[in-house]
């Protein structure tokens, strides 16, 4: 096939860990088929491309761009805008592009507090002059510009219009491969693409549907952190008091974590029809608190509920681990001065 008639594929990372690229490469020997099917137009992880190359493309030159990572700084935003212009189909790839994911947890504090922690307080640091990153630096060669570090992390969809989303941290290789095949079929053979805005490479219902653990009625008297309990191998983890986000998380992973005794972390985001994953989980858990009264130990109902809640470590980080940017609240309220210290 003529090199130039192949559809153009791009994959870019903004604020991300690189796991999405690894998962993509993890599709095994199918990676050769990807090379067969697509012309790689931009993929900094595996080949040497410069931004200038992309800028040189005509608008809409790239057929499909898989964009992973959240929008943490002005460079991320510029690249998102550039790739949006240059791509026919822009895919939010992975949890960070989808909902902000781990980087967006810093929305619980402020830029100042984040920088302070990273550059001044970290125990492994050696920064006696207390230097913090600047956006401009006067060097011998002239003025150097660095990207602006934003106060709030956003998902890709909050910055530019997105055509599809492939959720997951990272998306599962078999799901990536299915999507790539579908895209190739659409571009080469005119097969129909899913409706714009769809979440692809995943299920629609929650993870519990895929989980083979035995579902039971729930009434939770206390929560356990993973090191505090050896989970029963057959029973639903949540029923055992182990936080499992499966009930509020989109399926598609095959319930990988719960199947091996680790509560679902929620990386696929909320199931179809649910906007705020954390809120959905919080109201679910609030509904299944054990409020049997009178209590065995003579505690008041309030005390009973307090003790139950005390066993729940880091609620915001647990319920919004992957979805804070897209949550109804989106970030913590702006503190008047840095909360830190």
């Amino acid at each position: 096939m003529n090199q130039n008639s192949k559809p153009k594929l791009a994959m870019y990372w903004a604020s991300s860990c690189g796991g999405c690229e690894i998962s993509t490469l993890n599709i095994g020997e199918n990676i050769l088929a990807v090379d067969e099917l697509f012309e790689i137009a931009f993929f900094p992880c595996i080949a040497d491309f410069k931004v200038k190359d992309v800028e040189g493309y005509p608008d809409g030159y790239i057929d499909v761009c898989l964009f992973n990572g959240a929008i943490r700084n002005s460079d991320n935003q510029e690249m998102a805008e550039l790739l949006r212009r240059k791509s026919k189909v822009l895919v939010a790839f992975g949890a960070c592009a989808h909902q902000g994911s781990i980087p967006a947890l810093s929305n619980l504090t402020s830029r100042a507090a984040t920088l302070e922690t990273v550059y001044l307080d970290n125990p492994t640091l050696d920064n006696p002059q207390g230097i913090l990153p600047n956006t401009q630096y006067e060097a011998d060669e002239g003025l150097l510009e660095l990207p602006t570090f934003f106060n709030t992390v956003r998902s890709l969809g909050q910055v530019v219009p997105v055509d599809y989303t492939i959720p997951g941290c990272p998306p599962e290789p078999h799901q990536i491969w299915t999507v790539l095949q579908a895209v190739a079929a659409a571009l080469l053979q005119g097969a129909e693409l899913p409706p714009a805005g769809s979440i692809i490479g995943a299920g629609t219902v929650a993870v519990c549907k895929e989980c083979t653990r035995e579902k039971e009625e729930k009434q939770i008297g206390r929560y356990y952190r993973p090191f505090e309990i050896v989970p029963d191998p057959e029973r639903c983890l949540l029923s055992q008091g182990i936080i499992c986000m499966g009930a509020a998380t989109r399926s598609g992973c095959g319930a990988l974590c719960p199947q091996v005794g680790i509560g679902c972390r929620g990386c696929y985001g909320p199931p179809d029809g649910v906007d705020d994953q954390g809120a959905a989980m919080i109201s679910a858990l609030a509904s299944v608190m054990d409020t049997t009264y009178p209590t065995d130990n003579g505690n008041s109902l309030e005390q009973q509920i307090d003790t139950l809640i005390d066993t729940l470590a880091d609620p915001a980080g647990t319920f919004y681990r992957f979805s804070l940017a897209n949550a109804v609240l989106g970030r913590a309220r702006q503190p008047a001065s840095p909360v830190h210290k």
């Binding site: 219902v205 549907k209 579902k215 009625e217 199931p271 179809d272 109201s283 679910a284 299944v288 970030r331």
Partner: protein, 681 residues
């Protein structure tokens, strides 16, 4: 989407609403500002609920072809039905009407007219957005099985069963004790008329026992309830009596001959004995005894069978091989008349009950007075021989007391006065009543009090601190001393008496919460069953087809228990008459494709409407049981449960309307950006 044609109707409710809200401004504003959102007419009127007010709505529906109606008046609790019916009469589906509670949510809680009017606008704006998304609904019709289950055969349950049976309908009457009668069967005389309790109760009991329409199941309990109004399936355990009802003549020889005697804690309130094979009292209905397995020598040690040996019937009525029977019955309605437990006075140690011999509980005293009781009606001290020369009666034991029950038990003032009279009449002893307030409402009750006052009964006002046998002063030796602050003279007093009677309060049955869960109804904080409306619907519950009567609903005396029993029966007969019942279609539904089977919702429903389909691994909601409370809707993390008339879209639309009006007052929708500029950089 086609634009709806909405009518908005603002009620003045006399000056109830008009006094605080500018109703005229409100209706002209609605006509203007909400026009682009589909409002074609807005009116205000003095009493929307009046027939003239309703006419207004009806003629608009017809003449202006309204497709939706918003009535801004009082709480939907009161008039939703009125306005729904009005819509229906004008040919509009009744569920296309939405009410705004201007009176309860605005007028009665605010005083600033301008702000109140602004809030009213916001609420109407929300209702207009919401009503546009309403869907026409049809009530669900269920057939009514004519048989009724009555649980508990105290006076209240007996009354209910008789009313229904006499009206020609079948009743299954389930009583957990060996005999019907409840507490009333233990009492001696009943206030205020002092007629003998047994004399007025036993004729009713006999009628119950022989009524062709009553299937009486004593020594039985309801184990499970499934289904819903019109079609409840109840599982009843008929405990083995070990006595064949088809043979036993009720002669009682077995009870005489049984060598295992024990203290009767239930009927005799601990004052008398019974044997292991027993019937609680001679007039028991049914007359057949039961063997109390736990105390039967044969069942415990394998030897005895005295009862069988002496039983004169052929074939022998004693059958040690009998087993519990499980019955499954279908009933259309259920009346719960499970009564009360007496407050256990041991919980107040300073009153000495259970420790000081001559401190008696009120029920013990009833047995003491009763001619059929252990002393044949003689009022004697615990030694069984001496008569008291002085008696102290303490009111409010365990009632009106922050440490026990806050509520007033309602019957114990009259019961204490009754006791004072009986002691005077039978012993001539000196009687002192210790009270906080005397509560004697109702017909002839205060007259009874006046009468007792004339009998020279003394009254000391103050909560008793202690009853002790530790004598400190001359004249106190060998007596019980009642230590009290006499609040009329502001002094501590020590009053020595021979006998103390504790007028213990009325408490919910110890298992009332379990029973309420079993039947899918709710209890108040103390454990009394909750009625649908405390004033206007006192015997119905939130669960359709389940009614409550007697002390199970709250403390009350015999006349009130009888009234409730009859009222519950009337309600049941009403539904039987209709043969089928229309149920509210406002309820929750599981959207099968969205349910992940997580089972978060499994045990949330207060009406037991939620089931789990094991095969399909999804939850299901029984539409006839669901009352549309919304508990499960908000819990489901997959948003797989949708509340009809409370869909996410409808609620969000209402919020949009409400917020639009609260923020800029121009009726336009505001869209807030995800993050403000200040938050971003």
């Amino acid at each position: 989407m086609k634009q709806e044609r909405i009518g908005v109707y603002v009620c003045h409710c006399g000056s109830n609403i008009a006094g605080t809200v500018d109703v005229g401004q409100l209706s002209s504003w609605a006509a203007d500002a909400l026009e682009k959102r589909g409002v074609v007419v807005a009116r205000d009127y003095k009493f929307m609920c009046s027939s003239l007010g309703q006419e207004l709505i009806k003629s608009d529906i017809v003449e202006l072809s309204l497709t939706r109606v918003v009535v801004a008046a009082c709480s939907p609790h009161l008039h939703e039905k009125t306005f729904r019916t009005a819509c229906q009469q004008a040919g509009l589906n009744p569920y296309l009407m939405e009410m705004v509670s201007l009176r309860e949510h605005v007028a009665w809680v605010h005083s600033d007219k301008a702000l109140a009017t602004q809030k009213a606008k916001a609420l109407i704006s929300g209702a207009v957005e919401r009503v546009a998304l309403h869907e026409p609904l049809d009530p669900i019709s269920v057939p009514i099985e004519a048989t009724t289950l009555v649980v508990g055969a105290g006076i209240s349950g007996i009354q209910a069963a008789l009313e229904i049976a006499d009206a020609g309908q079948k009743v299954v009457l389930v009583e957990r004790e060996p005999s019907i009668g409840g507490h009333m069967a233990q009492l001696d005389k009943t206030f205020p008329t002092l007629d003998c309790s047994a004399c007025i109760l036993t004729p009713k009991m006999v009628t119950v026992g022989s009524h062709p329409n009553i299937n009486l199941l004593t020594w039985s309990e309801v184990e499970a309830v499934d289904g819903f109004v019109g079609q409840f399936t109840v599982t009843i355990r008929k405990k083995a009596r070990y006595v064949r009802e088809d043979v036993c003549t009720g002669c009682g020889i077995c009870m005489e001959k049984c060598p295992s005697k024990l203290i009767d804690q239930v009927y005799e309130a601990g004052l008398g004995y019974r044997s292991a094979i027993y019937r609680p009292f001679p007039q028991a209905i049914p007359k057949y005894p039961v063997i109390d397995k736990a105390n039967c020598i044969y069942f415990q040690r394998g030897k005895c069978k005295a009862c069988q040996l002496f039983c004169p019937t052929t074939p022998n009525a004693i059958d040690f091989e009998q087993e519990d029977q499980i019955l499954q019955l279908t009933v259309g309605n259920i009346i719960l008349a499970t009564g009360y437990d007496l407050f256990d006075a041991r919980r107040i140690p300073q009153y000495g009950y259970g420790r000081l011999a001559n401190v008696f509980s009120s029920l013990e005293f009833e047995r003491l007075c009763n001619a059929a009781g252990p002393t044949e009606g003689k009022i004697l001290l615990r030694d069984g021989v001496s008569q008291p020369e002085s008696v102290g009666i303490i009111h409010c034991v365990g009632s009106r007391d922050r440490n026990y029950n806050n509520y007033c038990s309602a019957i114990c003032c009259m019961q204490s006065l009754k006791f004072a009279h009986l002691v005077k009449e039978r012993t001539g002893a000196k009687v002192t009543n210790f009270y906080i307030d005397i509560r004697t409402p109702y017909k002839d009750y205060d007259e009874f009090y006046q009468h007792v006052l004339q009998e020279k009964v003394e009254f000391v006002r103050g909560r008793v601190a202690e009853v002790t046998d530790a004598a400190r002063r001359p004249g106190e030796e060998g007596k019980l001393i009642i230590q009290v602050e006499d609040t009329f003279i502001g002094k501590q007093r020590r009053i020595p008496v021979d006998m103390v009677i504790l007028s213990a309060g009325i408490e919910p049955r110890h298992d009332s919460k379990e029973v309420s869960r079993k039947f899918g109804i709710s209890c108040n904080g103390s454990g009394f069953f909750t009625e649908l409306h405390p004033k206007l619907d006192p015997v119905a519950t939130m669960s359709k087809g389940i009614f409550i009567a007697g002390c199970a609903q709250g403390p009350k005396d015999i006349p009130a228990s009888v009234v409730q029993g009859a009222a519950a029966a009337a309600r049941v007969l009403g539904t039987i008459q209709q043969k089928s019942l229309d149920l509210e279609p406002v309820l929750a539904q599981v959207i099968d494709q969205k349910c992940s089977g997580c089972r978060i919702c499994s045990n949330l429903c207060p009406f037991n409407a939620i089931g789990f389909d094991l095969e399909r691994q999804i939850s299901t909601i029984n539409p006839a049981l669901c009352q549309g409370c919304g508990t499960c809707v908000s819990a489901c993390p997959s948003h797989a449960i949708s509340g009809t008339q409370f869909s996410t879209e409808q609620i969000l639309a209402q919020l949009h309307g409400l917020l639009a009006e609260s923020f800029n007052g121009n009726g336009a929708r505001t869209q807030s950006p995800a993050f403000s500029q200040a938050e971003l950089v």
